[in-house]
């Protein structure tokens, strides 16, 4: 540069440069939205401290046997790592979206049927909360080993009866810990896992292809009668309790319902 630039020259040139700077040419939101959905999904190989390419053949083999491993040996499945850190809940990625068994019927709800949330609270030993947005429950069930409360809404205006659950909405509440895995889900590539803010925390919304869902008994074993497909589901933790809302509603509507728990 032949001539010296003073501060005013520099300011003028910098301002000139600013008018020429390009931003991204396409809408970033779809990519950001996808990253938000993936954020909580920690690849299991990252916990092993090995290069992904080294693990690829092993990963392919493990992916094929993962569903069987889930059913037969929970310890192997545990070793692969769960995706979320909601107490009491494990979510696994599986290579294919699960399909319904030919004779699968709407789920039956285990436990003692009680008349009110207050009665359920007394038996369960914690305050059972219900979503005001769904109105009065159709039925409430309480199980004690492990303690789990299921609240059923058979028909709610504006929420279709789910092909998987046979009702409009199901709410499950339990006290979960990291050590005791009460509930598990297996999601395939067609199921979208999205993290959304809820109150001061984060909730997880599963949508798209139905996912596989089951409870474990106190010994950590799969309870076969609970193995079924589940539709759109919102999962969250509050004050040490884990909540699960299953209803064929949008993510925003699920969050609205979750925000109405009293």
């Amino acid at each position: 540069m032949p001539d010296r630039l003073d501060d005013r020259d520099l300011e003028r040139i910098l301002t000139d440069i600013a008018t020429r700077l390009d931003g991204p040419k396409r809408d970033m939101w779809p990519a950001v939205r996808a990253r938000i959905g993936e954020r909580r999904i920690q690849p299991w190989w990252s916990r092993l401290g090995m290069d992904r390419r080294t693990l690829a053949p092993i990963a392919a083999t493990l992916a094929v046997i993962l569903v069987a491993a889930l059913l037969l040996t929970p310890r192997i499945a545990d070793a692969l790592g769960h995706l979320l850190s909601i107490p009491g809940v494990q979510i696994y990625q599986v290579p294919q979206s699960p399909t319904a068994r030919p004779n699968a019927s709407a789920p039956t709800f285990a436990g003692q049927r009680v008349a009110t949330a207050a009665e359920a609270s007394r038996i369960a030993g914690f305050t059972v909360r219900t979503p005001a947005a769904l109105g009065e429950p159709s039925a409430i069930y309480v199980e004690t080993a492990p303690v789990r409360v299921t609240i059923v809404y058979a028909s709610v205006k504006g929420i279709p009866v789910s092909a998987q659950a046979g009702v409009s909405a199901i709410v499950v509440e339990f006290k979960g810990t990291i050590e005791t895995q009460i509930m598990a889900k297996a999601i395939g590539p067609g199921t979208f896992l999205d993290a959304v803010p809820l109150g001061n925390g984060v909730a997880y919304y599963l949508s798209g292809q139905p996912h596989q869902f089951f409870f474990r008994d106190p010994a950590g074993n799969l309870q076969p009668e609970t193995l079924r497909l589940a539709g759109n589901t919102l999962l969250w933790e509050q004050d040490g309790y884990t909540y699960r809302l299953e209803a064929q509603v949008s993510r925003d509507e699920a969050v609205r319902i979750a925000s109405s728990f009293r």
């Binding site: 010296r4 501060d7 600013a18 008018t19 020429r20 970033m28 803010p197 993510r251």
Partner: protein, 189 residues
């Protein structure tokens, strides 16, 4: 500028309550600023976009900690800048500040003669080259002021410094840029 904070605040609050499309609106609104911020640090446009996207993602998960009533823009840019700094450190290289980004769009030079336009282009290239030799914090303060037109208060928030520090830091950065263009300083001081 007056309307923006209130509108941002509404979108942020909606996003905090689970309205992801409200957050999408914020992403679209600030994707250019976020990418410029990252670009000033990484010096590579593709990496800048990637860093901006990761910054937006991290900001989303930090919404629960966002102070109600605070301006969103500098808060976001701070997160994006940190993301870009981490990437640059991990890559272990200096930014290059690619001139093509500044030269592929005509901007008010139509009144200039070909000779004058060529000189202006040369000066831009010269200053961009000098910017690349500045320390990261100097480059960032200049970018916030001249490339993104942030207010002093916003710059203070985005840089994480006291408001009174911004002026002196900007003045020092311009001074260093002047020294570099004058050939007095050739590398990081």
């Amino acid at each position: 500028m007056e309307g923006r904070p209130a509108e941002d605040a509404v979108l942020v609050e909606r996003a905090q309550h689970g309205d992801t499309e409200a957050y999408g609106e914020l992403v679209r609104r600030y994707q250019a600023l976020a990418t410029r911020t990252a670009y000033v640090i990484t010096g590579l446009s593709t990496e800048a976009e990637d860093a901006a996207q990761d910054g937006f993602t991290k900001a989303y998960f930090a919404l629960g900690r966002f102070r109600t009533g605070a301006p969103f823009r500098p808060w976001l840019l701070r997160i994006v800048a940190n993301e870009a700094k981490n990437r640059r450190k991990a890559a272990g290289r200096r930014p290059t500040v690619d001139l093509s980004v500044a030269e592929d769009r005509p901007s008010g030079d139509t009144a200039l003669s070909p000779e004058e336009a060529a000189l202006a282009s040369e000066r831009r290239a010269f200053v961009l080259g000098a910017l690349g030799k500045l320390r990261e914090e100097d480059r960032l303060v200049i970018a916030y002021r001249y490339f993104m037109q942030l207010s002093e208060a916003e710059m203070a928030d985005a840089l994480g410094v006291a408001r009174g520090t911004v002026k002196s830091r900007l003045s020092r950065a311009i001074g260093r840029l002047r020294e570099i263009t004058a050939g007095q300083v050739r590398a990081d001081a």
